[in-house]
């Protein structure tokens, strides 16, 4: 038992000390957050665009009282006594960035003759702000001419959103289909990637031992099973470490960034532009999104995710180890041998994408119980209230399969790592796996 700990320790340390581990573990989240930050910075810079805009307001829409949105930092200068045609050619030389011309308008008709002059295309955000401002002004005029107060108008206007109440017998919760499917899909995807990446890492580790011919030295000190399990557990621990660091880093960086860029924090967004209908819409969506996030059974998800992550990894790692043990120094050979092991993982992924759309379909139910696909499929399905009996059967089957495959693959591994220069067929592997002793 002490020996298996030594092996785990070595497998773990060798990988964690590698530069590539440091790069992927620290580098990837930083890249993600930096990318995220750049996106936000670009978005935010639009909001803080400062322009000096010359306005000739012949309709008196804005000059009579302007409702500028708070995020609009531009300066509007009303110009009188100038012809639009003459200002059109010299506004730039007078120190203005744009020239807005509002001709007299008939508020009973659709308005479409307002012009914004510029040297180069105006930023979309700037154009939107001006449009919203003019829309509000026209709306206000129309309300006044119809003798309707703003309050009355607000009470008339309808903006329906349907709540999805989830009744699971215990409590009533708000659910949001979009949030559920995003969470389900990302969890399933993550498990799929983990099984492939860390599975092949186990395979390469075993191949390294075989090709370097250290396997024979090792098995004269430890049992082949210890060597195999030590490697699998060691690499699994590397995976868990990487995840833990990622989570800590992403949370930490998010906190740091939100300190610098207030808008990075989602809760700050709703106050950005009060009064603007479009933003109000977004606020509602955001609130719904947050309600959706709250509706996700996070405890259950985390438990299942960790269970199926470990289960799926252990199940496939032993198979990858067996494959690694039978191939001799040929990368192509490894690829063709590994294909049948990859198949069920990919199949699981395909079923999982279906699970997100149709969680109750028979194929999905089967996929979430069948142990070779359940780690990926069940995690995708867990959002949609899986009957407890199915969950228990699925978990039980997975545990039994892990033990069965570890027993089976250990026998293949034991023979394979000492076999050189001979191409091993599937038939032979099966014979090794099922022979006695």
């Amino acid at each position: 038992m002490n020996k298996i700990l030594l092996i785990i320790q070595r497998e773990y340390l060798v990988r964690v000390k590698k530069k590539s581990f440091l790069f992927t573990t620290i580098g990837v989240p930083i890249l993600i957050v930096v990318f995220y930050a750049i996106m936000i910075a670009i978005g935010a810079s639009g909001g803080h665009e400062k322009n000096k805009i010359a306005v000739i307001d012949e309709a008196g829409l804005l000059s009579s009282g302007m409702e500028k949105s708070k995020s609009d930092a531009s300066e509007y200068v009303f110009i009188t006594g100038q012809q639009p045609d003459s200002l059109k050619v010299k506004y730039k030389s007078l120190g203005y960035d744009y020239f807005l011309y509002i001709p007299p308008i008939d508020i009973t008709q659709p308005v479409n003759n307002i012009q914004l002059y510029s040297q180069s295309p105006v930023a979309v955000s700037q154009k939107n702000k001006i449009e919203r401002m003019i829309d509000n002004a026209i709306e206000l005029r129309r309300l006044q001419s119809a003798n309707i107060t703003r309050e009355q108008y607000r009470s008339i206007k309808s903006n329906v959103s349907i709540d999805n109440k989830i009744l699971n017998g215990k409590e009533e919760k708000k659910g949001v289909a979009l949030v559920s499917s995003i969470v389900a899909f990302s969890c399933g995807m993550l498990i799929y990637i983990i099984m492939l990446i860390y599975g092949t890492m186990v395979m390469r580790g075993v191949m390294e031992e075989k090709i370097n011919r250290i396997a024979e030295v090792m098995v004269s000190s430890v049992k082949p099973f210890q060597l195999m399990m030590g490697k699998i557990i060691g690499i699994g621990a590397v995976g868990l470490t990487q995840f833990a660091i990622w989570i800590v880093l992403i949370l930490g960086l998010q906190m740091i960034l939100s300190a610098f860029i207030p808008s990075f924090d989602m809760s700050a967004l709703p106050q950005a532009a009060p009064g603007a209908a479009a933003v109000a819409d977004n606020t509602d969506k955001l609130a719904a999104f947050r309600a959706g996030i709250n509706s996700v059974p996070w405890g259950m998800i985390s438990f299942c995710f960790i269970f199926y992550f470990l289960g799926g990894y252990l199940l496939y790692a032993s198979m990858f180890a067996a494959i690694g043990s039978v191939v001799s120094d040929d990368q192509n050979e490894a690829q063709s041998m590994v294909f049948p092991v990859m198949m069920p993982i990919v199949l699981g992924f395909v079923i999982m994408t279906k699970a997100v759309a149709e969680p109750g379909s028979p194929l999905v139910v089967f996929g979430s119980i069948f142990p070779l696909t359940s780690p990926v499929v069940m995690v995708g399905r867990i959002m949609y209230d899986v009957p407890l009996s199915e969950l228990i059967i699925s978990m039980l089957l997975l545990v039994i399969s892990i033990i069965f495959f570890a027993w089976l693959t250990a026998k293949i591994y034991r023979t394979g790592i000492l076999m050189y220069g001979k191409k091993v067929t599937w038939k032979e592997m099966l014979r090794w796996a099922f022979r006695k002793q």
């Binding site: 020996k3 030594l6 370097n212 024979e216 030295v217 090792m218 004269s220 000190s221």
Partner: protein
């Protein structure tokens, strides 16, 4: 008490009888040569003794007790023919790791590794990686890792391949020292001159069976063909004799075989009677290489696959 006793050991694969009823014993402190052509079953035999493979039949007695791989591997050091180390691992760490797997505590392992590294002048290698070493250096390192646990039974498969004469001698001396301290050594090689030099006892294995067993000297005696070399004063005109036949003549030097029923003295008498002076007279024992070739000859170069009937 023998260090190791192997009794009627068998290992059959579906395609061939790799080891077919081999028995031998090994005394403490002896250096034992395990010889045989390629594919004779040596590696399978060694793998059973090191606990890597289970015998199909037969018994292994280690230090008077039935061999228990779990416990006894701590007292065995095995250097396989195909040497292997973790290429990316630091040499010092690697040696300590391998010693720990043999059951040494970390402190003891560190102490032993330091001791051997100083002995072999390898201290400067500590933080290097195996991939930075030459083949001969790797070989030295592999030897060190094999004997770190102070094993009672050391199995060396081609330990000198790739080593220069200086390093070969270094390791040879260590092998002698280990044997003097009571370790038993199984030495497997195809280099017959090394076997003659180092081993006290040999067995020859062919097609999974033991075909020769004995001390180097007794084996040579067993296969001697009564060939003598005699150096004479003058050219012997007539060397016809009932006692011997001449195989080869080079000037005054004769190579002759003594016939059945005659003794070396009869040869000497023959020349003395002819008044020919004798400068030298000695027996030509066959070399192990000759014996090996003689016994193994006729065996197809590559072992044919046969169906095991058991």
């Amino acid at each position: 008490m023998n260090r190791l006793e192997v009794k009627h050991l068998k290992k059959y694969y579906t395609s061939q009888k790799a080891v077919d009823d081999i028995s031998f014993s090994l005394a403490p402190g002896s250096i034992f040569g395990l010889l045989g052509p390629n594919g004779a079953g040596k590696t399978t035999l060694i793998r059973m003794i090191t606990g890597i493979l289970f015998p199909d039949d037969g018994e292994i007695i280690f230090n008077g007790q039935p061999f228990n791989p779990d416990k006894d591997v701590a007292y065995i050091g095995y250097m396989p023919e195909e040497k292997g180390l973790y290429k990316k691992m630091k040499i010092g760490d690697q040696a300590i790791y391998l010693a720990q797997l043999k059951g040494l505590s970390k402190a003891t392992a560190l102490e032993r590794v330091k001791h051997w590294f100083i002995k072999f002048e390898m201290q400067s290698w500590w933080n290097k990686k195996v991939e930075d070493l030459s083949k001969g250096m790797q070989q030295k390192l592999q030897f060190v890792t094999t004997v770190l646990n102070d094993p009672k039974l050391i199995i060396l498969d081609e330990p000198f391949s790739g080593l220069d004469p200086v390093n070969s001698n270094l390791i040879k001396d260590e092998i002698y020292k280990l044997a003097q301290n009571g370790s038993s050594i199984i030495f497997s090689t195809h280099r017959m001159e090394q076997v003659e030099e180092i081993c006290d006892h040999i067995i020859l294995v062919n097609k999974g069976q033991k075909i020769l067993d004995g001390s180097v000297n007794s084996v040579k005696q067993q296969f001697k063909e009564n060939i003598f070399s005699i150096g004479l004063d003058s050219n012997p005109g007539n060397h016809q004799s009932e006692a011997f036949e001449v195989i080869q003549q080079k000037g005054h030097q004769l190579l002759l075989r003594i016939k059945e029923g005659y003794k070396p003295n009869d040869v000497l008498n023959h020349f003395l009677q002819q008044q020919i002076g004798i400068n030298s007279f000695h027996e030509m024992l066959p070399s192990l290489s000759d014996i090996f070739i003689k016994l193994v000859e006729g065996t197809p170069l590559a072992r044919q696959f046969q169906i095991a009937s058991a």
